[in-house]
């Protein structure tokens, strides 16, 4: 009898249960695995922004591997003999020729290339918005400063990675971008030309750029990013999520849905949704048509082409900075490049990355924070973040001075000077305006909540009566008191079967110790 029960217990929960038993015997997964399945994910729409970034990163890895199978990273000049007729017979680099061929000769190639490019744009955008969410809600505060720095470093790496990938097809537009990057590195005082020569393997352009950028783009940076993403997620699980204040939510607990099955289902579905949107974009919205740009030739250039959006703000800074080259002490100081190209982005990233330290020094707040702030309740932080966004946005707009001048039929000079002024003024106005809005929101009752409408009726006598309208659906919604995750054996049939199988076992939550 005893033996039989043991056998039944061993094989409880069927073949999957048996497989899990075997795994636990060897790896000890039961304890940790169960707490992972019970892991609580707080619910808020803004918590999916990081997921968008993660999933588009996965899509980048997948589509990227596909592209490397066809792309040849070589600047060797070949005569093109592929399926894109306008190019046949022209001398182009092997990198460009294979980029064109993987676009037109490989089935699904164009789709994969455009997916890769769209996923990159979405990846970076999602990281920016995710970081903004973390910033404005104060999720970066102790104990999560390290994860904040990891995440913002991922953003910087992502920008570099995107730029490198953009350069690989060796088309006319991307080549101009590399030339500008070379000039920016060259502008660093004293060591600039040395760094430029070491990075590019000699003077611009040289045969090293394409193979070198390729291996950095497909191996070095993705590997670092993959490691950092893993660390980012590990810290997220280890330190547990932050949550907004609400019913039953304290600094010492996490309230939300459980990892398994609800979050797992939603996350899987959401991965598919992100993939679906990227695939649809790649199918219907053309991006980076390198066959139209033509192969790179350092002495040719195209008109009114903008870099990818995440590089635009740097380009804008270079555009509007005055021509301040200075010659002194027998040397040239190309400040008109060095300041907007190196110092300004360096300062912005330093402030952004150093913010947790700056804020802690200012507020002297050394407490552990697991509950999030509403942005309005931290007017100074919110205003500062908004000002940085305004600054970067103005820099971004400044990267299309020529397009603006053309479109509105105003002189370039007027646009240039407007941008030079706006890039200073708008962030300052934004700061004070945001600060004021936050204070107003704090002061007004029920701001951000739905208000009950008033219905005004007129009686036959001409008398006006005002009464609150019927509550709308959801108005009466009251959150339940959160409870620990049960074993999910809610099906009465299952419960009865298990009772027979595992008798004597209590289902009341009280442990029966059998002697």
């Amino acid at each position: 009898m005893a033996e039989k029960t043991k056998q039944q217990a061993k094989s409880s929960f069927g073949p999957v249960g048996k497989a899990l038993d075997e795994l636990d015997d060897r790896l000890g997964i039961a304890k940790g695995g169960r707490s992972l399945l019970d892991k609580i994910f707080p619910d808020h729409w803004s918590f999916m922004l990081g997921e968008v970034a993660l999933y588009s990163f996965l899509i980048l890895l997948g589509t990227g591997i596909f592209l490397t199978l066809f792309y040849v990273p070589s600047s060797t000049v070949v005569v093109y003999h592929g399926s894109y007729l306008p190019l046949v017979g022209q001398k182009v680099s092997q990198a460009y020729a294979t980029s064109i061929d993987l676009t037109f000769s490989v089935r699904c190639g164009l789709l994969m290339r455009q997916m890769h490019h769209w996923a990159c744009d979405i990846f970076l955008a999602a990281m920016v918005v995710h970081m903004a969410r973390v910033f404005f809600t104060g999720a970066f505060r102790k104990p999560r400063e390290l994860n904040y720095v990891l995440g913002s470093t991922l953003l910087i790496l992502g920008i570099v990675e995107g730029f490198l990938g953009y350069s690989l097809p060796d088309d006319l537009v991307s080549g101009t971008g590399i030339r500008i990057a070379f000039s920016i590195i060259e502008s660093i005082p004293v060591i600039g030309s040395y760094i430029a020569f070491f990075v590019f393997g000699g003077n611009y352009p040289g045969p090293q750029i394409i193979p070198r950028f390729f291996i950095i783009h497909v191996l070095l940076i993705p590997l670092i990013m993959l490691g950092m993403v893993t660390a980012h997620l590990f810290l997220l699980v280890h330190q547990k999520h932050t949550q907004f204040p609400g019913k039953g939510r304290t600094e010492t607990n996490v309230v939300g849905t459980a990892m398994f099955p609800v979050f797992a289902a939603k996350a899987t579905g959401f991965l598919f949704m992100v993939g679906g949107v990227i695939t649809l974009l790649a199918g219907f919205a053309q991006i980076n048509p390198i066959w139209q740009f033509g192969p790179y030739d350092a002495s040719k250039i195209s008109y009114a082409v903008q870099p990818d959006w995440y590089m635009g703000w740097l380009d804008g800074a270079l555009r509007i900075w005055p021509a301040w080259e200075w010659t002194g002490f027998g040397y040239t100081w190309p400040l008109e490049i060095f300041i907007p190209g190196v110092v300004v982005p360096g300062l912005i990233f330093a402030v952004v990355q150093g913010w947790p330290v700056l804020e802690r020094r200012y507020t002297k707040d050394n407490e552990i924070h697991n509950l999030l702030d509403l942005p309005r309740n931290r007017p100074k932080r919110t205003a500062a973040g908004a000002a940085v966004f305004a600054l970067v946005t103005m820099m971004f707009i400044a990267s299309s001075t020529d397009v603006i001048a053309n479109y509105f039929h105003i002189t370039l000079e007027a646009v240039l000077w407007s941008m030079r002024i706006l890039v200073v003024v708008v962030p300052i106005i934004t700061y004070f305006l945001t600060h004021k809005i936050c204070q107003e929101l704090q002061a007004s009752q029920g701001a951000g909540k739905r208000k009950r409408a008033n219905v005004v009726t007129r009686t036959p006598d001409g008398e006006y009566l005002s009464a609150p309208a019927e509550p709308r659906p959801g108005d009466e919604h009251v959150d339940l008191e959160p409870e620990p995750v049960p074993d999910f054996l809610e099906d009465p049939v299952v419960v009865r079967e298990r009772k027979e199988l595992l008798s004597p076992v209590s289902f009341t939550g009280v442990r029966n110790v059998v002697r």
């Binding site: 289902a265 939603k266 040397y331």
Partner: protein, 313 residues
Amino acid sequence: MSSEERTPVAFSVAKADDPHMQPKAQNPKLAETLIGLVMLAGIGSLIGFAVAYGMNAQSWIMGGTLGAGVLFLGFGITAWGKYLMPQGPFVEERHTMRGTDDERERFKAAVVQRGGGILGRRKLLAMIAGAGMSAFAVVLIIPVFRSFGPLPGNTLNQTNWKQGTMLVDSTGRPIRVNDIAVGGVVTVYPKGLENTDTGQAVDQTILIRVGTEAVVTQQGRESWGPNGYVAYSKLCTHLGCPVGLYEQQLELLVCPCHQSMFTVTNGAEPIFGPAPRPLPQLPLFVGSDGLLRAQGGYDQAVGPGFWNRETSG
């Protein structure tokens, strides 16, 4: 029955009517049907993709069917999780990151006392070991970086234009005095380098015919512009983009990257934009064979500024 044979298990069970276990959907039957239909639409779309792929259909058809299929499946699975699974809210306690005082003290003791103590007892050895590590890092890093590229030396100050170098266009054709009409522009390279990286990236020069008489763009350049020809380095002095736009009526060269403008007849002085210096001018002469040649190299480095930029040479 002994405890080795059977470990009693206590399940925590939520009752079937527990509100935490209820789906969010008001009408679960309807939700179930809709979700099923959405996922079926996804499968249908994916089959469509397989067909489109087999027929080598256009990219947008493949993207549309694959994207829609994946999106529909995603919608279905997400909606299943969102509307038909137990909604909670559930709660778990956080574990504080901080260890107990005891754990912290013992940890610190191990690091500071055990580790630091050993180092402190043999200061000289520790210093030598530290020096060894540093030497290793230096010895490793310097050659690695040094192998990445040649030293810049004077490379950035030089071009391949020399006395008598023939100007050729991108096809290698030399420029005869009457080849270009007034107002015409052509990008020229030193003969033999028109299809090379350095020829295109460093030596590229823009040749403009502004008239028929000798053009003097600045004092001291009286002989540089024979027969109405002027030649400037095509590398923008801002960031090195090719200054590719010639505005004929205003006689301006415009850089399309950041809109720096240079006056053609006035020594390519920058009159607008971020470029800090004029484009260097290439002195020309007409050889006895009627072909345009360079009198010599540029009198300064071409392109953007850098630390040891030379202004004469």
